[in-house]
Amino acid sequence: MKLEILKHFEDIGERFLLDISELDGTDTKVAGIYCLFAPTELVRAAGAIPVSLCGKREKPIADAEETLPPNLCPLIKSSYGYAVTNTCPFFAESDFLIGETTCDGKKKMYEFLGRIKPLHLMHLPYSTTEPHAISFWRDEILRLGRFLEESTGQKIDRDHLRFQIRIHNRIRKLLERIARFQAAEHAPLSGLTMMTVMESKSFFVYPEKYLDMLGEFIAEMESVAASGFSPFEPDAPRVLLTGCPLGKGSEKVLRIIEESGGAVVCMENCTGVKGLDLLVDEEEKDPFLALARRYLQIPCSCTTPNIGRINLLDRLISQYRIDAVVDLTWHCCHTYNIESRVVGDFVEGREVPFLHVETNYSTSDVEQLRTRIEAFLEMAGCRSNVRFANSRLN
């Protein structure tokens, strides 16, 4: 089944570029962002348009390695490679960049990126729960606000910020509803399609139009869901994919899981549902404090301890009736690689099979990965062959 409306999601990058080109000659600025920690409400409140520049493809990595060490995570190298080769249209459109100190690799890479375009670096606290962490992060949000005001020449009006907060909360709620269709017994979308839908959240010029598009999609999805259609086999093991972000160009693990008969019904990562359940408090008098509180709750492995991720996984495993969890981490992503053991202990403690896959964007290990993932799905017990092993053969 192919929904017409999916085309809008597939083409959203081109749509973005078209809409931006129509704004040529105006004062509208484009802010290149790299992470879920960037408070996009604030960017919009300053009249700028945020767009994700997170590198998802192998192609520019070789060029990045002229400057950066090869044993660095592919996401950092790809992001930098696109910038230094000027091969990403979204980077080309960006007037300035916003980064966060989410890891050592990124924060040092931003020093080089800052040589190419104006870059504002937000300093993240490692702890997310200490009271002084909240006030520190609020100060960082204010500091970003001043940078934005200088860069756009537009004052951030508190009421407009509150308006943007409401819009962004609505977007999160709609995206969450879309993700939740997959919790049904017959998940109506493949994980690959859902990835395309979710990726759209970083590529829109007009939030209201985007909200309309999500609303239309939900209406169509409701009829698909009612029909009981699913692209998966009825006994396909329901897989939750967690770990590092992935997207078009770095979806190989997601693809192999689905080619091997698994149904990726949920992705707990920055390109999936992470953060969709975290809304900014619209009632809080101080919108900067409300933003600080919301953004610091993002359960990223760069914080310690990262209890939020375990709580989220716990909830998702139940909500999406998960049969198996795959933790995808990129090479040299220390925080996610180390945290994998914590996640594995937790998931196995819930008696859900767990597989950690550490890889990069290249295709050199696709067949090895296929063997591991196929065997993992076999083990997850959802194929009938398991019973054969239960009796001595002969």
Binding site: T371, A375, F376, M379, S384, N385, A389, R392, L393, N394
Partner: protein, 262 residues
């Protein structure tokens, strides 16, 4: 020409270095063949398959998908090596709790439940460090035939430390040891010890239990076997034909498919 028996099933394990084929009838394995993979695995398979017409075939190993797609037989299916080694080991050693398989380009550790079900497994990533390929390179570097490499290493009088598991780095490490006048037997021992340490770490990650069955081509290597027993302080069971376990497991899987259809 083997007389065609309806109850016979074929298991074929298409690995990176060799292809093994097992024919199973109701009494057990009746034929076991091993050929090198070469640069033309399909050609090799075709030769092996000439006399298996009509039988159910189950493929495993890296070539399993290629095989299943190329030989459009009526009864052909594919399973992973992990499943195949679990089934094969269970048949040969029903008491086995953990399987170690070191093949041409990967190492696998599979933990089995009391009923022989795969509970957990580990497998090396893309790199063939510490596998049969590593031993092959090192044997070549020391100019010892691969089959004799384990025995050669056991002739050492002291163990030198080799810290690199990367084939290229380990070779440079071995070269600098040779330049210092170290006996080749001692270097060989160091290389074997490095493999065993890496393997033991993988076993510990899955959880060591006993009995442990050691299969795959590298199980032929006496030195790896001996060092593994020392490191783990427990006996290691090696099947009579350790490299046939995967093909046997594939055949056993096929037999059960046959049975479930009738």
């Amino acid at each position: 020409m083997i007389p065609q028996q309806n109850e016979s099933v074929v298991g074929i394990d298409i690995g990176s270095r060799s292809i093994e084929l097992v024919v199973l009838d109701s009494g057990g394995p009746v034929r076991q063949v091993k050929v090198p993979t070469t640069f033309d695995p399909l050609g090799q398979c075709r030769k092996l398959m000439e006399w298996t017409g009509g039988m159910r075939v189950v493929a495993t190993g890296y070539g399993r998908k290629l095989f299943a797609e190329s030989f459009r037989l009526e009864k052909v299916s594919a399973i992973t090596e992990i499943q195949a080694y679990a089934l094969g080991t269970r048949y040969l050693h029903p008491e086995a709790k953990i399987v170690l398989d070191i093949g041409g380009q990967d190492t696998k550790v599979i933990s089995l439940s009391d009923t022989g079900k795969v509970v957990k497994f580990e497998m090396n990533d893309r790199c063939a460090a510490g596998t049969g390929k590593f031993l092959e390179f090192m044997a070549t570097a020391l100019q010892v035939p691969l089959e004799e490499f384990g025995g050669f290493a056991l002739g050492s009088d002291r163990r030198v430390q080799i810290s690199s598991m990367c084939t290229v780095f380990a070779e440079s490490e071995a070269t600098s040891l040779m330049a210092r006048g170290e006996r080749p037997e001692n270097i060989a021992m160091g290389l074997h010890a490095a493999i065993v340490q890496r393997t033991a770490a993988m076993l510990r990650r899955v959880g060591i239990s006993t009995p442990l069955v050691f299969a795959g081509g590298v199980a032929h290597n006496l030195c790896v076997r001996q060092l593994l027993e020392e490191e783990l302080r427990q006996p290691v069971i090696v099947p009579e034909n350790p490299d046939m376990v995967g093909a046997l497991g594939a055949a056993l899987y096929g037999r059960n498919l046959d049975r479930s259809e009738t």
